[in-house]
Symmetry: C3
Subunit: 351 residues, 3 copies
């Protein structure tokens, strides 16, 4: 039975190792529609072909997060099949738009390794890159996961620790704004009258709406991304785990939260960067997701007078509306109903 | 937190007001497939490209009700986010087919206002229009909803009442039949041997089959239509409501009922008009939907000898098969298991 | 109410009878995406356009099993609406690839009839053929089902028995391999390093992973295939049946099992034949599906040096991981947790 992949364990990773991930995946109109049905996103740039053309694009781009999930999904069988926890993201950049018809592939490079002192696991840091059929990088990001060892080792055989310099927030000079505002910008069609200039650093927005997740929803999404992590799909096995439930793919919560932010950030047409993020607590079917956001930074883009960037923190919660902007308790730890703390950068038209 | 849309309240509407709705939405093959998966429709005109071409069309059109739901969905954030009830439809006309690749936008005009005497709400009547990327009207309809006031007003400050002349059934002269029967019509491929000539006014058809709705189904559909009404999505909030459950979008029931009518009305290839309709009782996940129909009118189309129209009443029920054609009780009110009473007009080949 | 189809009963079938099935169905990118979301298949040939072109194809083909389900679905209203049980498959051949844009139609020929001695039902054997818009056969297969009689007949009026010669495994000379390996074959992108030469007859593979089925999943799939069998959809009626539950379409389990086999048979890029199969026990929502496979035969294809075929038995189970390769009990009957025993032939690159 050796032809079955059991995934890599901590001892299988080496610093500098490059992993070519299976399977090439062509993005279609079908993926775009399923993404719409799964999250109900209303950002105009990825909803209406005519709107995208009005912003100087030849074709409507695919939602950045759909591309992100597809690339992420490819990395799962090689990187995180034996993960204990998905610890964080950093330095996620969207280099160029993905369009319907593009075929995405992914590779990862191991940039850090940190054995845990218990000898049973360790943290693996990778930079994952998604490319299109012309070998152009469409997105890349760093993530780190805690991965089990195949066999526990004694304290004197843990191996070297190399923690990479994690990138901070993606700087203005590296943000790509693939569209521009030509002539007027139709805020009525876009669904919000508030533009870049109207947001202030420190401003907080309760996105009000909530969406309940069902088992079918997150599994349909996660299979669409060809993400094979067992914990999302196998209730028979999960029943005898500590959790007892299927765990919802963190990216599903990210996309739900992003869709919820439309109410308050309706002109945040593109995601340009994922600066960092944590899945603070697990999400299960039956939970209702709410979100609030804080404007962390208002970024002028070099040479761009009608498009600006906002660095945003979006916090998602479960079964807890966000009027009280929940985040951490007095002990400094995430509150139990906080499920996501995402630091990312969006692009928005300026006045 | 003022950047969040809370939707319009009764006092925000003015007679003659025009509302431009967000977000432009391009209809794709993906939407068509999801619609197929959600309802299992088998009408040949919207299922097989070759069949559509055989009826003189260059391309297969998109199901009229998919286009209707997308246009309706756009109107929700502006018209019915604070609705207490969706009271009725009238004068729905399908002016021209929608095709894959079309981008739909929507606008509404307030044509009537009726304050309720309790001072807490009122009925808003709108005519909503969906247009394609060439600004051609593809469909329009009137609907009226009861909308909450932001603040209750005393009896002497209710404001004016204007009830519009509601259109009756769309007359033959306004029905558009975009396809024609050229040469023979293949009833075997279409799935029914019964043509327009075979139906009699007053005839009733029990459509026999039943379909159970799950939470995932209606939420996937309703998000696909970018319909943002909270009651469909937020179980956490609904749990503390009188209903205690997520309410299923009425249009989801309309599409399920239309798909069920294939068994008995298989050659009703297109919907040409929605003359009127009521969501008689709420539908929840777990309910099994059944339907029966009555032929209300057999309409000859001016100058069209091989296509006719049938005005149909389709009644849908929950957890109650329709052999007994249920509708109203002795008190004249809808029976508790009746969820839809729809008066619409379909097009069908003639002998 | 006579315009409603109640489906054919045993006494409606005649030997040699040809049935033209409704409804023509155009396969789109949307169907492909939904299929991906429903099963999470990762076989590279049907996932990445560039990968398909690398194998000498002009366009990426559609998964053979999606085409199979669509053709099968068409036959349901005419063949198995009154089926008691779906007894078996044989001689399923995939003659040519189906592509996005193809419109499929289906016909069946009655090739055998076997009345049951109880006078209440009988077995109907049909050969069903799916064709594309150019009338080219894309696939055909034999299946047999036990169908109820409209009215029970006494023992002396059962009618003739004709059992057809059921085809054995599709021979090498009839297997179509529409792609070829040109230059190198990228096993990293494909997701498995094991090629045809690496598999041995008798080898068994536990595919390890499990996927739990929800009601929404199988209904979405089964409606997508326009399969109208009531037992899959109508919980209200099923509640009063012996089973008490909605029964999951057997083809849904076949597709889930095929997707699971990726882990161990990752280069089995195409299904070339379905030699036989049984749905050993019913599957319900909530069940977790696992699978194991046995290599039955390693087949050289005439004149093809870089593509070979493997005849595979894949067994799927419910709520029972397959490390113990479960199949039959000591009494020779399928074990209660075995739900599928499928004998089929796949195509795989050779070294």
């Amino acid at each position: 039975m050796s032809k079955t992949t059991a995934g890599n364990y901590f001892e299988d990773f080496r610093l500098g190792q490059e992993l070519v991930h299976a399977t090439p995946r062509t993005i279609t109109e079908g993926d775009v529609a399923l993404y719409a049905g799964l999250y109900g996103s209303r950002f105009a740039l990825t909803s209406g072909e005519t709107f995208a053309r009005g912003l100087g694009l030849e074709r409507m781009p695919v939602d950045e997060l759909l591309a992100f999930h597809v690339v992420f999904g490819k990395s799962v069988p090689d990187i995180s099949l034996n993960a204990v926890a998905n610890l964080g993201y950093a330095g996620g950049r969207f280099h160029r738009p993905v369009h319907v018809g593009d075929t995405l592939t992914a590779t990862s490079t191991v940039i850090g390794l940190k054995p845990n002192s218990n000898g049973a696991s360790g943290n693996v840091y990778v930079r994952t890159e998604g490319r299109n059929q012309d070998s152009e990088v469409v997105l890349d990001y760093v993530r780190w996961v805690m991965v089990r060892r195949r066999e526990t080792v004694p304290a004197d055989r843990l191996g070297e620790t190399t923690i990479p310099d994690l990138p901070g927030a993606v700087p203005a000079s590296e943000l790509i704004a693939p569209w521009r505002v030509v002539g007027g910008y139709d805020t009525a069609l876009a669904g919000s009258e508030f533009l870049w200039d109207d947001y202030e650093v420190g401003e907080r927005i309760d996105h009000v709406d909530g969406v309940t997740i069902e088992e079918s929803d997150h599994m349909l999404a996660t299979r669409l991304y060809q993400n094979t992590a067992k914990v999302h799909f196998d209730q028979h096995a999960q029943a005898s785990s500590k959790i007892g439930r299927r765990l919802i793919y963190g990216g599903h919560v990210i996309s739900l939260a992003r869709a919820l932010t439309f109410n308050g950030l309706g002109n945040a047409l593109s995601v340009a960067a994922i600066n960092g993020g944590s899945h603070a607590n697990p999400t299960f079917a039956g939970h209702t997701i709410y979100a609030w956001s804080e404007v962390l930074e208002r970024i002028e883009l070099p040479g761009r007078h009608n498009v600006g960037a906002l660095r945003i923190r979006t916090v998602a919660t479960k079964d807890h509306p966000c009027a009280d902007v929940p985040l951490r308790g007095e002990d400094g730890r995430y509150l139990p109903h906080v499920v996501l703390d995402l630091d990312y950068t969006v692009l928005m038209p300026r006045r």
